[in-house]
């Protein structure tokens, strides 16, 4: 049995009233002791009410901040309240909460600052939208060059972080599309990350907002963000001893 004390679960959600209750109950079944914080990013439906009724606490934002802004607020909250680990999963039910204990265990066992639950590490799930697959392949290549390490699922939104990363991300975090840029932010400080395998499930309700046009915009935005991050931060200013 894995000790899940000091773990907080963060679930970004926007207009996920139909699925968020089920996701919270599933998470509760797996990690009954961990606080669940739903990040309500300007929903116009009953996401907040449903989440509270299901037993979660809710950070409700005054307007639509974007994914990065929401997640950073959760990291700020977790760091201020002394949590050791935060696991973030989506509110649409695509991420299986059964992986949460393995993610925490991976953070503890490896000492890595961040763990990614990868769809492609063992099970070769393939994106159904061609531009999305193109984006993942492109970012795999770029990250391999920049980080010197293979990241099989750089766009995964199912990630866990430890307290070192919480401290860093509370101050510096990409505000729009955080997944890939966050890896560069970590790497620039000589922090480490690892991946564990997972499998994606279909959405419980509703439609994905990802379209080919948005994927192209996403790729351009993230590419710019990655290179700006490289230019912005002096290389390895906070390298830790023993790493």
């Amino acid at each position: 049995m894995i000790d899940l004390r000091g773990v907080m679960i963060a679930i970004p959600a926007r207009n996920e009233a139909e699925s968020i209750g089920g996701v919270i109950r599933e998470v509760r079944d797996v990690v009954s002791s961990a606080p669940i914080l739903v990040l309500d990013d300007g929903s116009v439906d009953d996401t907040r009410r449903v989440a509270e009724a299901a037993g979660a606490e809710v950070l409700s934002f005054a307007y639509h901040l974007g994914l990065g802004g929401c997640v950073q607020a959760a990291y700020q909250y977790a760091f201020a309240h002394g949590f050791e680990y935060v696991v973030r999963l989506d509110g649409d039910g695509q991420h299986d909460p059964a992986d949460i204990p393995r993610m925490v265990e991976a953070l503890r066992a490896t000492g890595c600052e961040l763990v990614i639950a990868s769809r492609f590490l063992d099970a070769p799930d393939r994106p159904k939208i061609a531009p999305r697959l193109m984006g993942i392949v492109l970012f795999r290549f770029i990250l391999r060059v920049l980080l010197g390490k293979v990241v099989t699922d750089p766009t995964s939104g199912y990630v866990g972080v430890n307290r070192n990363a919480l401290q860093l991300f509370s101050r510096v975090f990409p505000l729009q599309y955080p997944e890939i840029e966050a890896l560069v932010v970590l790497q620039r400080r000589a922090f480490r990350f690892t991946e564990i395998p997972t499998s994606m499930r279909p959405r419980l309700h509703g439609q994905s907002t990802i379209t080919p046009v948005r994927v192209v915009f996403y790729m351009i935005h993230v590419l710019l963000g990655v290179f700006v991050n490289i230019l912005r931060v002096p290389a390895f200013p906070f390298r830790r001893k023993g790493k």
Binding site: F61, G69, A73, Y77
Partner: protein
């Protein structure tokens, strides 16, 4: 000596006056008026009956004072756009930080009131 089109001179003068009036009425903060005033003053300066515009045209490689004027106007507009880009970016970051702090403070308040 090159005779500057009166319409451009008037436009620049109107812009300067408009910016000053907007500052007085507090529709525009002084720090955000600098880019507009700098652009308008530059055009006004070039409109004085001097050889300034022709000289500037030669320096910029323009083949006529009119072309030099277009260069200056485009440069001024790009400068103003860039300036406001930086202002908007800073405001967006500030707004995000405020929204984050507000959401956290609201949650803490609900907890203190015993609503959660």
């Amino acid at each position: 000596m090159y005779s500057f089109p009166l319409a451009i001179t008037l436009l620049a003068a109107i812009l300067v006056v408009s910016v000053i009036v907007a500052i007085r009425r507090k529709h525009l903060r002084v720090e955000y008026s600098v880019a507009w005033l700098a652009g308008a003053m530059l055009v006004l300066l070039l409109s004085l009956p001097t050889r300034l515009l022709a000289t500037l045209g030669r320096l910029l490689g323009a083949n006529s004072p009119e072309t030099a004027l277009v260069y200056v106007l485009i440069g001024s507009i790009l400068f103003v756009c860039f300036h406001y880009g930086t202002v908007i970016s800073r405001l967006r970051d500030d707004a995000t930080a405020l929204a984050q702090r507000l959401a956290i403070a609201e949650l803490e308040l609900r907890r203190l009131r015993g609503e959660r």
